[in-house]
Amino acid sequence: MRWGVVTFPGSNDDRDVLRVVERVLGDEAVSLWHKDTDLRGVDCVVLPGGFSYGDYLRCGALARFSPIMEAVRAHAAAGGLVLGTCNGFQILCEAGLLPGALVRNRSLRFVCDVVTVRVERTDTPFTYGCRTGDLLALPIKHGEGCWIADEATLAAVEAAGQIVLRYTDRAGRAVPEANPNGSMANVAGVCNAGRNVLGLMPHPEHAAERLLGGEDGLRLFRSAQAWLGRSAAGGRREPTVVPGP
């Protein structure tokens, strides 16, 4: 599988993702620059964490107008896989590729922690290899990770099963105490209507090697590999592609 990782000015998890793709997954990693206009044939494009454009104006607000984003938009519209972590999630929301927005943590504090997230849906490429209810331990590090949407959007997203990951306690209960940033409905990760674009605040790339504290993040990467392999073989679970968030 061929993964592309976009570097925006201010991205800082791009190399970590490239490392996981090459060294841990043994896949092909393509480094993409924000001024590129071509995704060079990647199967999945990753928008990494960091502070693109210094988080000026709003997190992700300026990065969404980078030249590469037109290619990302086209890739997504054609059913290609897109994964946004942390700042990448913020960019995807700003770009309108995912519903809602990410704002300052309710505590007003930057949080750096390992959290538990529960897999809500397995009908996305990135959770294809999980079971509903699986709990993953993933690191977070963000100041603006509070996901919000208006009531109608939240209801629509819930009804369509677009909430893919939720913050829970270790017993898998989505209680307020397990919510690190005040996100509505404990949302940690959300996908688009077509299910091929996923954004999440936690960092799967920082939970991909035992030496670094855990491997749960690998399940998202390996899911995408398996999903792609399956759909290439004419599998049945290819998501239907609906444009828009």
Partner: protein, 86 residues
């Protein structure tokens, strides 16, 4: 001919939680300003414009707000266009 200046104020949407405003309100209460019942912290953006007819300016600036300066999911904006003060 004086240039145009657009003044844009971006605020968190009404009814939407503004933790920053809450924190400022608490600080004001702690300082003895108990009359404050609500604080919303937003942004002020000032734009200098040239080669633009005053009649077209508002629509242009509105488009700037909708595309970039404000995020309609979480923010409201208001704007005014005037001439540059010297």
């Amino acid at each position: 001919m004086p240039g145009l200046v657009a003044r844009v104020v971006v605020t968190p949407k009404r009814g939407l939680l503004d933790p920053q405003g809450k924190a400022v309100q608490q600080a004001l209460h702690a300082l003895g300003f108990g009359e404050v019942t609500d604080v919303r912290v937003g942004k002020y953006v000032e734009l200098r414009l040239h080669d633009l007819a005053a009649a077209d300016a508002e629509a242009r600036v509105r488009a700037m707000c909708e595309r970039l300066l404000a995020n309609g999911v979480i923010e409201d904006f208001r704007l005014e266009v005037g001439t540059e003060r010297t």
